[in-house]
């Protein structure tokens, strides 16, 4: 051991500090966890839109990723498990002016909250849904999730997961999402661009971000954090416009990433206004 650091005279400012509740940093995410990277990318994307900050709100459910809402220095909501999307839908429909971002995890959005996800996609609710997919339930200690690969070990599948995981981009596309992309935390610039695009455009946008959970997933599946990132580097294939049906997560075959879907479709709030709010001149 050399020497412990002296207390800094003045805390240096990070370029994103204006969007972070700095008094709550360091955050709760484990060393090597990728959620912080996705979160940071999301903040950069918000910044890049140049839309006034009070037009944004972030909603999350429960889980590690869902803690993001507690660190963003914007109006933010940390709701109940799985219910971020309907909560966000209420916000959006009551005030369509707002840019509503749902920042949550795979367990929250696709297991307990799966029903809400498909219905919001069907309605083309104007939300930006960012799903940090770490293939497990991190906060409760690494149980099997709806995204855990077949045969992977978790605390509730000690001999390997007998089930098949969801293909999230395919699910989103089939349900009606108008923007679907998948990146990993390694392609941070593409990810930031994707989130930026998703915020600026109207419609239900879904971005899946593969992110390591070294403590609760990696440890049980012989993956050190840098091994996971190596997989993201070597075993992914960037293919914009790829068919989401071919986007299963199988690192042996290679995982397709990129922007899969970007289509224009009228949104829930637009259609409601069109049908229910006649012009004031009438």
């Amino acid at each position: 051991m050399t020497s412990n650091p002296k207390k800094l005279a003045k805390q240096p400012e990070h370029p994103l500090d204006d969007l972070i509740r700095t008094e709550r940093i360091p955050h709760i995410w484990c060393p090597g966890c990728g959620i912080g990277t996705v979160f940071s990318s999301c903040l950069s994307a918000i910044k890049a839109t140049e839309i006034p900050y009070n037009k944004f709100t972030m909603v999350s459910g429960i889980g590690c990723s869902a803690r993001g809402a507690g660190y963003i220095k914007l109006d933010s909501f940390h709701t109940t498990h799985g219910r971020a999307i309907p909560f966000a839908s209420g916000i959006k429909m009551a005030n369509p002016e707002l840019k509503v971002i749902v920042f949550s995890g795979d367990g929250d959005l696709f297991a307990i909250g799966g029903n809400h996800f498909i219905h919001a996609a069907r309605r083309n609710m104007d939300l930006t849904v960012i799903c940090v997919n770490n293939l497990t339930y991190g906060m409760t200690g690494g149980q099997c999730a709806a995204t855990t690969p077949n045969k992977a070990k978790s605390t509730t599948t000690p001999l390997g997961n007998p089930d098949a995981p969801f293909n999230l981009p395919l699910l989103a596309y089939a349900a009606g999402a108008s923007y679907v992309a998948r990146w990993t935390i390694l392609q941070t610039r593409d990810l930031t661009t994707a989130i930026n695009e998703a915020i600026v455009r109207k419609g239900f946008s879904f971005i899946e971000v593969l992110s390591p959970c070294p403590i609760n997933y990696g440890r049980r599946n012989k993956e050190k954090p840098l091994d996971t990132l190596k997989l993201y580097q070597d075993r992914t294939i960037i293919k914009n416009g790829a068919n989401p049906a071919l986007a299963d997560i199988d690192f042996d075959k290679g995982v397709v990433i990129g922007k899969f879907i970007d289509i224009d479709r009228s949104t829930c709030d637009d259609r409601y206004a069109e049908l229910h709010r006649p012009c004031s001149d009438d």
Binding site: M1, T2, S3, N4, P5, L8, Q11, P12, H14, P15, L16, D17, I20, I25, P26, H27, W29, C30, P31, G32, C33, G34, I35, G36, T37, F39, S40, S41, S44, I185, L186, T188, R189, T192, P225, L226, L229
Partner: protein
């Protein structure tokens, strides 16, 4: 940066220089910035931060090209780079 073939305008391209800033006490020592720095100028320091992690340190201060990759891969808001004033850099 190593080139397989030297670009014809290599002499004209101005490489930006950056200064890496590290907020030691935010670091949790994941090492992502070190592993993915394209110029390989970071490594773990010997010192401990308040939480007991080894934050990174810059080994080759003049070689940062201000690509910001450490800044955007860092999950902890603990590292970033700023463009070095070219006048100051040439001193």
């Amino acid at each position: 940066m190593a080139f397989w073939r030297t670009p014809l305008d290599a002499q004209e391209i101005q490489v930006t220089r950056g200064t890496v800033c590290i907020i030691d006490d935010r670091c949790k020592g994941c090492g992502y910035c070190i592993a993915f720095c394209p110029k390989d100028i970071l490594q773990f320091s010997d010192k401990f931060n308040r939480k007991g992690y080894h934050p990174p340190t810059v080994t080759k201060p003049g070689e940062c090209v201000n690509c910001h990759y450490c800044e955007i891969i860092c999950p902890e808001f603990a590292i970033y780079s700023v463009e070095t004033d070219s006048a100051a850099a040439s001193k």
